[in-house]
């Protein structure tokens, strides 16, 4: 029997494991064993548990999404190389060409940003010029960007210890670091769907939301100097952070992805059944996303809107109205509505499941740190609102059996809610989650 595509389900996963898969798992076990023998004494019981659980989790993910194996190995190799080059001294970065221009955390992140922008461009050129080669380049660039981004985070983790052993911590502790994480997780999820559904037509859409996040990241770096590694305030000194934050960002990433697929759905739906009403709605959707993403700019004005955010907003608006204007060129290349609907459903499922876990982990942590598992802190409350929003979406689809543009609209609306929970709360509301304060 011929597989229709590389990731088709045929029987239980465990029966489809190839020798390479075992080799990957073995490598992970060996890596973890090395860490335990060398650093085990410095880890507490929770950290050991997390590392132990991480091995099967990553092995499983590598088996499930095969390209992850190579990515993980390459990221590990690049990170180890960088660590080796540091010779235990941060100042080495100024003299080592490789470190200064490629592998030190900031350089790797800058490369990641550049590659993500290039990938977005390639995907769109491919879509507009109907060039499969260009979308292929976009896909490859995205892979490279993800690789460099993860390397950057790993090296940053090491650098934080070089700064001072008591400062060292996993880089998921502030808004700057989680923005990188957000871009990486969203891209990895997208790349999975790209392989699974054998279509690169959605790359441009998803990468737009990543690019928007990078626009924020650039501002945050250049204007606010947010890239500086900061030590952990006492409230954040907890192993809970290692699992709560990444789980949350799988959620945020998946929800953003589903919103962009929702936008693609509306484009395609308008193409399949053109009507004045749906066209008007499509323009509305374009502006809505532009505003949702451009909202950041309005929020960050100190005195009037700065030129950076004004142009950010203008570019967002031009891009999204451009997409709607070019709909006749873009829409026919999009996958069928049933496929788009399926991607949207899967993304929201993943997002919802992980967001639930993340919120519960957050509650467990809150019980340790603040004395109460739920204090109706604005971030908690907005997490609940996001959760309720997607719970309603899933009810509509699973119990109500609903399909069609309504769900795409709902997913788009979800982007607004998610963005607010992710950023808006930090900007407009104060509370216990003030670590990402702007």
């Amino acid at each position: 029997m011929q597989l229709t595509h590389p990731y088709a389900e045929t029987g239980p996963l465990i029966k489809r494991i190839a020798p390479l898969d075992w080799a990957f798992a073995l490598l992970l076990v060996a890596g973890a064993a090395f860490v335990f023998t060398r650093y085990g004494a410095f880890m507490d019981v929770y950290e050991r548990a997390i590392l132990t659980a991480f091995v099967p989790a990553l092995a499983w993910f590598g088996w499930f999404f095969k390209p992850m194996r190579l990515l993980a190995v390459l990221v590990a190799a690049a990170s180890l190389m960088a660590i080796g080059m540091y010779h235990g001294d941060l100042a080495t970065a100024q003299n080592s060409f490789m470190l200064k221009y490629f592998l030190s955390s900031q350089s790797a992140v800058m490369w990641m940003i550049a590659l993500f922008f290039m990938a977005t461009g390639s995907y769109w050129i491919g879509l507009l010029a109907r060039s499969p080669f260009s979308t292929l380049v976009g896909s490859r660039l995205t892979w490279f960007a993800v690789g460099l981004g993860f390397t950057g985070l790993m090296v940053r983790w090491y650098e934080s210890y070089l700064l001072s052993p008591d400062i060292g911590h996993i880089p998921v502790s502030n808004l700057y670091e989680v923005f990188i994480l957000f871009c990486l997780l969203t891209s990895v999820m997208y790349l999975y769907y790209e392989g699974r559904y054998q279509t690169r037509a959605l790359g441009g859409f998803v990468m737009l939301v990543v690019s928007a996040a990078l626009g924020f990241l650039l501002w945050y770096t250049f204007d606010r100097g947010a890239q500086e590694i900061q030590p952990l305030v006492p409230a954040l000194q907890s192993w809970w952070m290692k699992i709560h934050v990444p789980a949350n960002f799988i959620g945020y990433g998946a929800f953003s992805l589903s919103a962009m697929v929702g936008f693609a759905y509306l484009l395609r739906s308008n193409h399949d059944n053109p009507s004045r009403g749906s066209l008007m709605a499509l323009w509305g959707a374009g502006f809505a996303i532009a505003i949702a993403l451009g909202l950041e700019g309005i929020a960050f004005r100190t005195s009037g809107i700065s030129p950076y955010w004004a142009s950010y907003f203008a570019v967002t608006l031009i891009i999204f109205s451009g997409i709607v204007a070019m709909r006749e060129r873009v829409a026919p290349q999009l996958p069928a509505l049933t496929v788009l609907d399926d991607v949207m459903y899967r993304a929201i499922s993943v997002g919802f499941a992980f967001f639930t876990v993340a919120t519960i982990l957050g509650a467990l942590w809150a019980a340790d740190a603040w004395g109460s598992y739920w204090s109706w802190d604005p971030k908690e409350t907005w997490a609940l609102i996001v959760w309720l929003n997607y719970a309603a979406w899933l009810h509509l689809r699973l119990i109500g059996g609903m399909r069609g543009p309504m769900l795409a609209w709902w997913a788009l609306g979800g982007l607004l809610v998610t963005t607010f929970a992710f950023l808006g709360v930090n900007i407009f509301l104060s509370g216990l989650h003030s670590y990402g304060k702007l």
Binding site: M1, A8, E9, T10, G11, P12, A91, Q94, L99, K100, Y101, S104, S105, Q106, S107, M110, V155, R156, E159, S160, L162, S164, I167, F222, G225, Q227, E228, I229, P231, V233, P234, S238, D342, S349, F352, A353, T356, V357, I360, A369, W370, G371, S372, W376, P378, T381, L384, I385, L388, N389, A391, A392, L394, H395, L396, L398, I399, G401, V425, S430
Partner: protein, 685 residues
């Protein structure tokens, strides 16, 4: 379904309201924000405590009831459905499935098919009916259980959460058994109706313990009043510990305490840290924040008005207040000094004379270059450093109006000169505005205060005017001009002593036509500078000190002094208090909770997660295969939900089963078949 979605939407909207109106603030804040009328309206709607409002609890109750009903209605059906194989499938029914096919079977096909289905994770049951042999198979039945788990989990979480809420307390309040205590009573004077006993199942309260102090009750804040919560133990704070990173951020907040059980009298030491609470007899004690526990402060007061140059000492503890008797004090000008805080460390970014970091604009290329490399540049941490202790106090006038001050104990260097900084604000929401008192060569305020007093003394001013004219007079030989100059210098000083540069500016604006103002201001200022210098020297002479030589440093001192004196007119206080000595007493603020619902909530959360994952990721499938005696076989596949993968899946099963039934190469698909209940004899050869 519609009802469920409406419930979710209503809960979401209600929650949003609570994030828009900031919750549980002191009532005065709301009155300031909304005005009297809306304050009352919003209060009636419980908008200041949305999540404890009756209507919010009603929404939760509705959610619990409706979800429970849903579970009650669906569970028996689902459980039954889960177990059933649906062996009663008729031949006619196959065609009504969207996914159905007709295949051909060779002898033994049924057994081989059963083996295949087993390998694919199906459970199957074989029955003979009048049309032939029917294989009824299913997999992923746990999906249904997921539905039940998720919804039960939801209900359990809500119930546990309500259990930890304050429903009991509020009903006791409503029944009049307990009464909220208002004002600021001594803890020992709180009556029994204001105390919650040990039997209170759930609470969340605060406790402030100064170092060396012992506390045995927690305070439950209730709007603008409070209740006391009895505890089964006492806490004595031995020491509050705060540590900082080299960059100045806090690294550790911890309290070394001794806990004494009230029943057994036994004591044990414990350390409570952020993220590491102490749990004893069902009560969890968390490090919540810290405060001053009544540090003893010694201040020196320097008057900022009047011609007398003197100072006085004043002492007090943080949290107390004293009346100030300024000289010539009449009742209307009486001030009360309230010591409100003391900080032993202040980590500030001091750059270019401003508090707060300052970043110079750079080109994009520079910025990128600067951002290559590790995520930390070693130079940065020098910008922040500890500027030493500070005192916060309020000065309240007879009318009850208060201004708040924040004074640093140690001088701070700005552009190479040292200043004592004192900040003032009129509203708690404002930023402090700082006045800078210049330090003299001896490292004190003596010279500045001497100069300030001199400028307020008409006799000294007149003498300084004459001296100034004398000095200039070496070039001016006309006595009349000299007299006029002395007069003008005296007037310049006098005008300045009214309201500083403001009165000077007012004067110039009023008396000089616009085109000449700039020149007039320059002249006026050099006059003022020169005369001030002389006034300073006169006052030194009076104190028996030698005359100073004018140079850049003393010139800057005069300029800084004029600035400080000018600012002092807007300082709002006739006295500057300098912190001389302190004896720090810290206090730890603990949060104490008892939440019996916590375990229930956790169990509910576990159910919820298991439920959601199995609902979303266990796919339910049912498959029927009817092999008729004539070798024809009917296949149908069904799923509870339509999904994109189903077409592919059906395609695969059909192809594989066609091969398996025919006895062909289909078994290559499962080279290692698990021995099924009825493994086909010879099927593998």
């Amino acid at each position: 379904m519609r009802f469920a979605i409406s419930m979710l939407a209503i809960l979401a909207i209600a929650s949003i309201i609570g994030t828009i109106v900031s919750q549980d603030q002191p009532f005065n804040n709301y009155i300031n924000q909304f005005g009297r009328f809306w304050f009352v309206v919003y209060d009636t709607l419980s908008l200041y405590s949305v999540y404890h409002a009756w209507w919010f609890l009603l929404i939760l109750a509705f959610l619990i009831t409706s979800t429970s009903l849903c579970i009650y209605r669906n569970t028996p059906k689902m459980l039954k459905d889960m177990r059933r194989y649906k062996e009663n499938m008729r031949e006619r029914a196959f065609a009504s499935f969207p996914h159905h096919a007709e295949l051909a079977s060779s002898p033994g096909g049924v057994e081989r098919a059963q083996g295949y289905l087993h390998a694919m994770g199906f459970k199957s049951r074989k029955v003979e009916n009048d049309s032939g042999t029917l294989l009824a198979a299913k997999k992923g039945s746990l999906n249904r259980l997921g539905y039940i788990f998720a919804h039960v989990g939801m209900v359990v979480v809500c119930l546990g959460f309500l259990l930890d809420g304050d429903i009991l307390l509020r009903s006791q309040l409503a029944l009049g058994q307990k009464q909220i205590v208002h004002g600021n009573p001594l803890l020992s004077e709180v009556p029994a109706t204001g105390r919650m006993g040990l039997s209170n199942p759930s609470f969340r309260g605060n406790m402030l313990v100064p170092e060396g102090g012992i506390r045995e009750t927690a305070i439950l804040a209730q709007g603008d009043g409070l209740l006391l919560q009895e505890l089964p133990f006492r806490i004595r704070l031995k020491k509050f510990i705060i540590e900082h990173y080299s960059t100045g951020q806090p690294k550790l907040f911890a309290s070394d305490v001794v806990v004494t059980d009230k029943d057994s009298g036994e004591s044990f030491p414990a350390r409570i840290e952020v993220n590491k609470p102490l749990i004893y007899r069902g009560v969890a004690v968390y490090q919540s924040s810290f405060d001053d526990g009544g540090s003893h402060l010694t201040l020196t007061g320097f008057p900022l008005a009047g011609p007398r140059d003197y100072s006085f000492k004043i002492e007090g503890d943080v949290g107390t207040s004293t009346a100030l008797n300024a000289d010539g004090a009449d009742k209307e000008r009486a001030l009360t000094l309230e010591f409100i805080g003391f900080r032993a460390f202040n980590v500030e970014a001091v750059a270019d004379g401003k508090m707060g970091a300052d970043t110079a604009p750079k080109s994009l290329a520079d910025k990128i270059q600067q951002n290559l490399g590790p995520g930390a540049s070693p130079g940065r941490e020098k910008e922040v450093h500890n500027v030493g202790p500070s005192v916060q106090y309020k000065l309240r006038d007879a009318a009850g109006q208060a201004r708040e001050y924040n004074n640093y104990m140690l001088p701070i260097a700005i552009e190479g000169k040292w200043y004592l900084m004192s900040g003032m604000r009129e509203n708690p929401d404002d930023q402090f505005r700082y006045i800078r008192f210049p330090m003299d060569a001896g490292g004190g305020l003596t010279e500045f205060m001497r100069l300030r007093a001199a400028l307020n003394d008409p006799a000294v001013r007149a003498l300084a005017g004459n001296r100034f004219a004398e000095q200039m007079g070496t070039r001016l030989n006309d006595p009349k001009l000299k007299f006029q100059l002395a007069e003008s210098a005296d007037r310049a000083l006098e005008r300045f002593s009214v309201q500083g540069f403001k009165s000077v500016a007012d004067f110039i604006e009023k008396s000089v036509p616009a085109p000449e103002r700039e020149r007039a201001a320059d002249m006026f200022l050099s006059l003022l500078n020169g005369a001030t210098w002389e006034a300073w020297q006169v006052s030194r002479e009076k104190a028996g000190l030698p005359r100073l030589t004018a140079d850049a440093s003393t010139g800057r001192f005069v300029q800084d002094s004029l600035n400080a004196i000018s600012d002092s007119f807007f300082y709002g206080s006739p006295v500057y208090f300098h912190l001389n000595a302190f004896d720090e007493v810290q206090a730890s603020v603990f949060q104490l909770t008892r939440s019996p619902g916590k375990k229930i909530v956790y169990i509910g959360a576990l159910l919820l997660v298991t439920g959601i994952f199995s609902m979303l990721y266990i796919r339910e499938r049912r498959l029927w295969l009817l092999v008729k005696p004539d070798g024809r076989a009917l296949l149908a596949l069904s799923s509870q939900r339509r999904s994109l993968g189903l077409d592919d899946e059906f395609e695969r099963h059909r192809n594989a089963l066609a091969a398996v039934l025919a006895g062909g190469p289909g078994h290559a698909l499962f080279p290692d078949p698990a021995p099924g209940p009825a493994s086909a004899p010879g099927g593998q050869t």
